[in-house]
Point group: C2
Chain length 351, copies 2
């Protein structure tokens, strides 16, 4: 019996609705297949927790999490209660950073039964490898002067180590896929960091002579996500560009509610974290209509991470059967509730 | 007789094909309507010029341009000849900066007869006001260490003056349109500059109580360009975010080949510059199939800028007649050449 200990952080908003749904699916999968168990421990760290304790997680929170095999997170943030940059940097970004989850991977592909907003999408299946630890998301900077003359400086920091690491990850992934890596750049406009990014890309690609490569400026690349997403296999992008591209990826799939993600600790020192692309969606909280598929697909990425690829593939197949059958939440054109979608998936797992 | 002196810089690649086309259209328009004349002077500043002279424009280039009423530019850049950040910062970005063209405006709307790649686009008509002088496009930064330990720092600089100026421009524009301003932010991820951006936005909006406002993170906003572009009226964005959004805007219109832009000097000290969103497109140079509509629509923005709104509106109407009639270049599904589209537009102006 393989056993994995999972720290579960439902977080805010619909995180608390879709995380239980995904855990139920995981449990059902384990029950049916035997030989595998997830032991979960729940943590209520969230904006409400912040209002009570003045911090998003307890001081020893990271230490606690360090003992788990993985972290399964819903969504963080509720700007009505806590400013985003406090809630997110106090929990989500903090874990990504402190646990050296330097890579964020996010697939986007056409899912059967889910209508893309694109008129005639060819069958696309891409994956964005996002640098997850540095770049434009930096605490370095500040303000000088006040009033009319105020100036804010924001530093973006790109290290060769961090940049190269993300790129190598992308190339290794491409080797197992269709053998193509696209680099998201903006070296025509951003003066220092992006020419550096290009330079590292050109260095790294020499080690992968069989992989096809190209560099595309982020503005054109965003447009290509609309015009020809089927052209892409693996895309490597900085923290910010990866963020933008993956929301676009979710959009062309048909809903941000179905898009999964994994924050990977590649040196094995700390747990990796699995959290869907969507946020806490305060507008639909409590209505029972949150799409659980993003969180469930995220669970599939956790299965893959633990080497359980067969189960992972099976899970995504079943999800596609259910979407194809039209048992889907309103965001993708259905009338089903979070529960109904979840139950249907569980039912088919048991069949 | 009103007379405007225009500095014309065709630049690189298809810039040299679409600029003559747009000038021909402008001439025809003036001929037919009388009372208005554009006197043009051509400058061959380009990547080829760089190869010959070691700079993108002569030392006194800016001084020369300063005497004109406006600059009409095609496209700059040919990475096979000159690295982009040299060619662009040596000409395009240099003019934007030195001539204090602090605002870049770029409309995106459904054009009759041009098929959007979106499945069911509602009738959208938005305009992005892009801060054009500072932000993420900054020469400040550099590298430390070499080899494995190399680190690159890129500074983004946001001044209250620059930020506020762009926002006020957006609010004033919204007053003349549908009364709605959306701010593109990323204050949940970018630690200093974007919370500052939000703060300035919240200050400025107090002066415009009748304008509806919202702030949306750039990742979600990019997704909304795909899902519901009709929700937007005026969007105000930083230099980088504006760059990305306007290429997306061009994409959802159906082709980057039709998207226009204006770089506005708002204090009247220097000429403004009119250049379409598309680049020099080396891949289609010489084939005679470059879409002239982006450059022609850009000429319309120049007419508007000179207060010739009636002529501007007439020109865009005629362009839409021609696209509706299907006389369009291959990028938007037709078989017409640059010349044929141009001739058809001229013919209809004369009718
Ligand atoms: C070429 C490049 C510097 C430029 C920019 O990013 O500003 C272009 O993409 C644009 O949008 O005009
Ligand atoms: C919430 C925010 C900090 C986060 C990010 O930008 O990384 C989110 O958009 C994401 O993509 O996970």
């Amino acid at each position: 019996m393989k056993k994995f200990e999972i720290a579960v952080i439902p977080g805010d908003g619909i995180g608390r609705e879709v995380v239980p749904a995904a855990l139920k699916v995981l449990d059902t999968l384990c029950e049916v297949h035997g030989g595998l168990r997830f032991e979960t421990t729940q943590f209520d760290w969230s904006c409400e927790y912040y209002l009570e304790h003045g911090e998003m997680m307890p001081e020893e929170g990271l230490q606690t999490l360090a003992n788990f095999n993985a972290i399964f997170l819903g969504a963080v943030g509720n700007p009505k209660l806590v400013p985003d940059h406090i809630s997110l940097w106090g929990l989500l970004v903090k874990i990504r950073r402190e646990f050296e989850q330097v890579i964020n991977i996010r697939p986007a592909k056409l899912i059967k039964g889910v209508k893309s907003p694109l008129a005639n999408p060819k069958d696309f299946d891409l994956i964005v490898v996002r640098e997850n630890s540095e770049g434009e998301y930096s605490e370095i900077g500040g303000r000088i002067h006040r009033g009319e003359d105020e100036i804010t400086v924001q530093n973006a920091i790109f290290t060769r180590k961090g940049t190269e690491r993300a790129m190598r990850y992308a190339f290794e992934l491409a080797k197992k896929r269709r053998g193509r890596v696209t680099s998201a750049t903006k070296s025509n406009g951003i003066f220092h960091s992006m020419p550096f990014w290009d330079e590292v890309f050109n260095d790294v690609k020499k080690d992968y002579p069989t992989i096809e490569t190209e560099s595309i400026h982020i503005d054109a690349l965003a447009a290509f996500f609309v015009n020809r997403p089927h052209m892409f296999d693996v895309i490597v992008a900085s923290n910010l560009f990866g963020d933008i591209l993956t929301d676009l990826g979710a959009a062309i799939m048909g809903s941000i509610g179905i898009a999964p993600a994994a924050n990977i600790n590649i040196n094995g020192k700390y747990p990796s974290m699995f959290e869907p692309v969507h946020g806490s969606a305060p507008d639909i909280v409590g209505k029972g209509i949150a799409n659980p598929i993003g969180q469930i697909w995220t669970a599939k990425m956790m299965l893959d991470h633990f080497g359980e690829n067969e189960l992972g593939t099976k899970l995504l197949d079943i999800v596609e059967q259910v979407t194809e059958a039209g048992i889907v939440t309103p965001d993708i054109g259905g009338t089903a509730t979070t529960n109904e979608v979840t139950e249907e998936i569980c039912k088919r797992i048991k069949q």
